[in-house]
Symmetry: C2
Amino acid sequence: MGRRSDHTRIELEELFVAEGRRQLAETGLARFSAREVAKRVGYSIGTLYNVFGSYDGLMLALNARTLALWAQHLRDRLAAAGDDRIRALVCGYFEFARDNPKAWIAIYEHHMADGGPAPESYQALAADLMSVAAGEVARELPEAAAEAVLALTRSLVATVHGHCAFALYRTFSMLGETAPADAALARVRETLEAAKTRDR
Amino acid sequence: MGRRSDHTRIELEELFVAEGRRQLAETGLARFSAREVAKRVGYSIGTLYNVFGSYDGLMLALNARTLALWAQHLRDRLAAAGDDRIRALVCGYFEFARDNPKAWIAIYEHHMADGGPAPESYQALAADLMSVAAGEVARELPEAAAEAVLALTRSLVATVHGHCAFALYRTFSMLGETAPADAALARVRETLEAAKTRDR
DNA sequence: AATTTAATTGAACGGTGATCATTTCTGGTG
DNA sequence: CACCAGAAATGATCACCGTTCAATTAAATT
């Protein structure tokens, strides 16, 4: 059809991402198809490749959107939180994963075709998410050195991630666990308490 | 070729599983191909389907083998452990994942085509793995009730899993973490200490 | 030797990600 | 207004995938 001024390149990107997220949420990563996204948007597969370059490019755009929404969700929860900001953070983590299970899983299950790392701009989004958590850990441990805060934050996020992953992968339900978020919160509290005791 | 007495059905299964594991370790789940496994074993794709029924059936057989080897690895480490059995357990967990990264990841990233649960026999292998950990937790908390031990074990395994997953997915290296196993062990120790204090 | 039975095969089907020569439209020029 | 150069959009084409199943072939039975 030639240069359609129907949509700018930015609009096109947004169309594909919106439809891609809809489809990812429905079918999950394993059945996800770039062709099907293009078809439902009403553009050809060739146009989708013009915009994103590859399947990886499309998936990165989708996961980047998920990461941004996740970070926003956490900040919203923290803004509305009372005294117990750690609980707000852990619950916000679980809420987002539970409300967007397929998209959340896709963040971890998509791998670049060449096995290489994701581009800088994508890693920045993951780092931003981590910094939200680090801010709260720093608030809990005012005396701690910055590097110690970061190291502890990484470990705490890994702890929560493990509980959240088991919850979404149904590993927990298979084993009889019913309140994974509570368990994760309890673990985080223990670690923060131990760190406070060490600091004194 | 008709009924080849070259291999019994059991031998055939073993041939496919051995070659499948080799290929999974090389290429990873995303590029893994049942056709390629059949080709390299020297049987047709049809015979592979006679044996395993589907791609899911093959993957379950591969993942079942991985789970069994993992449990064996943990028991071996515990048998050779000194006083610090918890360290042996956590390190054994990480060692196996690090030595078999693609196979370990496939355990979590393979999903049944219909989204349903894995068959009973497969779940039993996962439960066995959990029971290895539960035995050590029970040893640490002799006073604790059985159900409390199981609940704590689930949470501790989730904690270690989170650290291990971040290590293998390179989330940690992206964030500057260098000793994920040490961090996981520290978290486990804190939780066990807190539980002991509660029991008193 | 003839027949039955069951294991093995691989072509065929509909789908995928990826490519790129071709077509089709648009903005600018004379 | 007619023309053209260039960019956007296309979809046939390719190699591969999981899956199916009629046909084939070798072993077991008669």
